[in-house]
Symmetry: C2
Subunit: 457 residues, 2 copies
């Protein structure tokens, strides 16, 4: 992380960092699969029409065009100006939700619903160069999508899966902050504020501009009374680890059918999380998740002690992730910003790899022509799952040991001809310096030395 990206916004890891990233991705994959989520990948490109369907972030898209198509139109000429916003133009996806929605519609006849999928891929955002933001990053998403209907229990399920997945990573403490759109909207309606999107938009500014300013905006922009504004802010101030938020909301004296539905759903999610993953989640009634297309539960996740980093895992319920004719596909899901997480892991030195290469055993050569026999030894080790490399020439042992040491390879293997002419195999642990005679057909390193370990600092 001391290195600067050679292309602003495009981070590349060194081999030892990549081992930590692989550990993170393997852990996520394993957790998702243990919960029955299927892997899919979608193509990197979508049509502009598909990407901009949701409106919002057209400013941050990377368009893609065949260089040849450019030059085919005349020496060095790019596409015609009128093509720039052509809905058939290709662009790199900026998240995994829009591509997944398209995939579901296209393959609906081949999928079984409810469909549980995870998707770990890179996404790209054409951020302005001067802002120093990541332009390429890895996301890890889980979603459950139904055909027509989707049980609310999936809202509980995906949060439990993510609590478990994040809990298995070397990232310290985290808090999943959960709210429910129905709860907020029902509360505002019960209060008599009908522009619920407007209220949410202002509540979303709470952390940035403070309660007084939000109250002023609610009154000046939306025509709320001082009391209505105070009530909306009182709701946003509620935050509990268990389901006691329900009583706190009821104490505010507002009633509405949608509010009841929201309270019941949020209590369902938070209650189950509190029981099963205590300390991992809170009901936080200030969470608005911008103006996204969520229709029920919404989630955000912050790292304890690194709250200013923003959310590292967000999502929610959408009643119509996708639709095809009069068929709709409701869904609920969460997305981890893996690259953002990795940058934090490295900058805060939260974890490191025990070595920079997979190799556990480096087989030294006594004579140059021992190479093929050394490969036999290596192959026997690999057959038992022990990563092994063979030296390419019989340099001085000191130099061969240095090769291993520099990479953090724990064991160096030596072969010598004994007094009786038989081959003697010895293994040196280069951390302790201990060297012992071994049988190449049976020797095993300690389990913890087999593969690089990712150690929390």
């Amino acid at each position: 992380m001391s290195r600067k990206a050679s292309l602003s916004g495009f981070h590349e890891w060194l081999p030892a960092e990549r081992i930590v990233e692989q550990h993170v991705l393997d852990t996520l994959r394993n957790t998702f699969e243990l919960h029955g989520f299927s892997s899919i990948e979608t193509r990197a490109v979508e049509t502009l029409g598909q990407l901009l369907r949701k409106g919002e972030i057209d400013k941050e898209v990377y368009a893609v065009s065949r260089l040849q198509a450019d030059t085919e139109q005349g020496a060095g000429k790019t596409q015609q100006p009128q093509d720039a916003q052509d809905p058939n133009r290709l662009a790199l996806h900026f998240d995994l939700t829009v591509p997944f929605a398209r995939y579901v519609v296209e393959n609906a006849g081949h999928l079984s619903f409810p469909f549980r999928r995870y998707q770990i891929q890179k996404v790209w955002r054409g951020e302005r160069p001067q802002e120093g933001r990541a332009r390429e990053f890895t996301q890890a998403d889980i979603d459950v999508v139904g055909d027509g209907t989707l049980s609310f229990r999936s809202d509980v399920d995906v949060a439990l899966v993510m609590a478990e997945a994040l809990g298995a990573l070397p990232i310290g403490g985290f808090t999943i902050r959960i709210n429910n759109r129905k709860l907020a909207e029902g509360f505002y309606r019960g209060l008599g504020l009908e522009d619920t999107a407007g209220v949410l938009r202002n509540i979303d500014k709470l952390e940035k501009i403070g309660a007084d300013e939000v109250s002023r905006l609610l009154q000046s922009e939306l025509g709320a009374t001082q009391d209505q504004a105070a009530q909306a802010l009182a709701l946003a101030a509620i935050r509990t680890e268990d389901t006691s938020f329900v009583e706190q909301v009821r104490a505010l004296g507002v009633t509405h059918e949608l509010l009841e539905e929201g309270l019941e759903e949020l209590a369902g999610v938070v209650g189950e999380l509190h029981r099963r993953a205590p300390g991992r989640a809170v009901a936080d009634l200030s969470i608005a998740r911008g103006l996204d297309y969520y229709t029920g539960t919404v989630y955000e996740t912050v790292l304890v002690g690194h709250e200013q980093l923003g959310s590292i895992c967000s999502g929610g319920r959408y009643d119509a992730l996708a639709s095809k004719g009069n068929r709709t596909f409701p869904g609920v899901g969460l997305s981890i910003g893996v690259t953002r997480l990795m940058m934090r892991i490295f900058s805060q030195e939260m974890a490191r790899a025990s070595r920079s290469v997979p190799t556990a055993v480096y087989i030294a050569l006594t004579h140059d022509d021992d190479w093929s026999a050394a490969q036999d030894t290596a192959q026997s080790l690999r057959g038992r799952g022990i990563p092994a490399e063979v030296a390419v020439s019989a340099e001085k042992f000191g130099k061969q040991i240095k090769y291993a040491d520099k990479r953090g390879i724990p064991f160096v293997w030596f072969t010598q001809t004994g007094d009786d002419g038989a081959t003697v195999h010895e293994v040196k642990d280069i951390r302790s310096g201990e060297q012992v005679q071994v049988d190449p057909a049976t020797w095993m390193p300690p389990e913890s030395d087999l593969r690089p370990q990712v150690l929390p600092n």
Copy 2:
């Protein structure tokens, strides 16, 4: 594979196909790591200047530009015409070799040489739409790169690793065809043909146009005598599984220092492969590998019975993969075209997944409010590495069993209250119909049912 890609050239797999692809990628990764190769990933984009440095395939590049940069220049306008070939313009990488070379130069101070790396990523080629070729595909590369020098033994090593990796895949038989540029060039020089690139270019057409036509071209284009042309063709006709090609070449009576060097190197690679992976490799003196930047060993790989598919794993030795000032980095490597391989696996039905989801156990609900208790059972199973899903509602058992059956989930779990009030757990194998009482704290499915298996057909 019966489905048509919704965007020509961009293939997306269904969940069961993705399981086969994951199996292939996991197998490759495991083999590469057992041989001590480190994983790296590079960014998806390079500058046009970097990509076109090697010259050849500028016609097939996908350029990338911020949509916002387009529109910033005026309503709907694209970049100015003079920018189309701007060397600072970004484009998607079309292979993993060029990005790796840049990565090595940029990070040379942080890497240990010789550096063994594998890289499994998507690449993109802006093929003309009408040609029906893949435009997005996954490659799996291994390379060993040295600082200044690189032992010839790495040429043997990478071929052994790939023979082992391909041998572990469900793709049937394959043949790695190996040649050596020094051997061919030395032979042509020894013959008196100095335009060795010209000869190679014509020899490369052998399969397409036949020996007579190549002979004619060698004479008309390069001024070869009939005898020289016959000798060049005689060399290209040599193909042996062991090192007997050496004698066959010598029998042609041509001598040259470079030829001797090439013979020794090729015998080194083929001899070791013949010994260690018999039947996997041949010395094939017709292999030219186009006009690539290789300087010694060259490799191509065909599937036995699918030779017309072309090479599925190619590469070679390059004396200067990259350079930085007066420092050069020689390398040798091979690249598997994973997507091409997957398309063949599916179209020929070479392998399939035993089920379409990771789930091994589907936990049915007897009553709707058993859900949380069922999650306890599921969590106990997952703790032992058994992927488990819980039903979302207490539908009829027949319907719950159908849910599992449709996805190929082998086991359905039932919980009932016994006569004495205690909970009774039973597991039904829905393939045999057998249902037995089990202890949720200890029950294990057969090892082969834990995760989806990839079965050869």
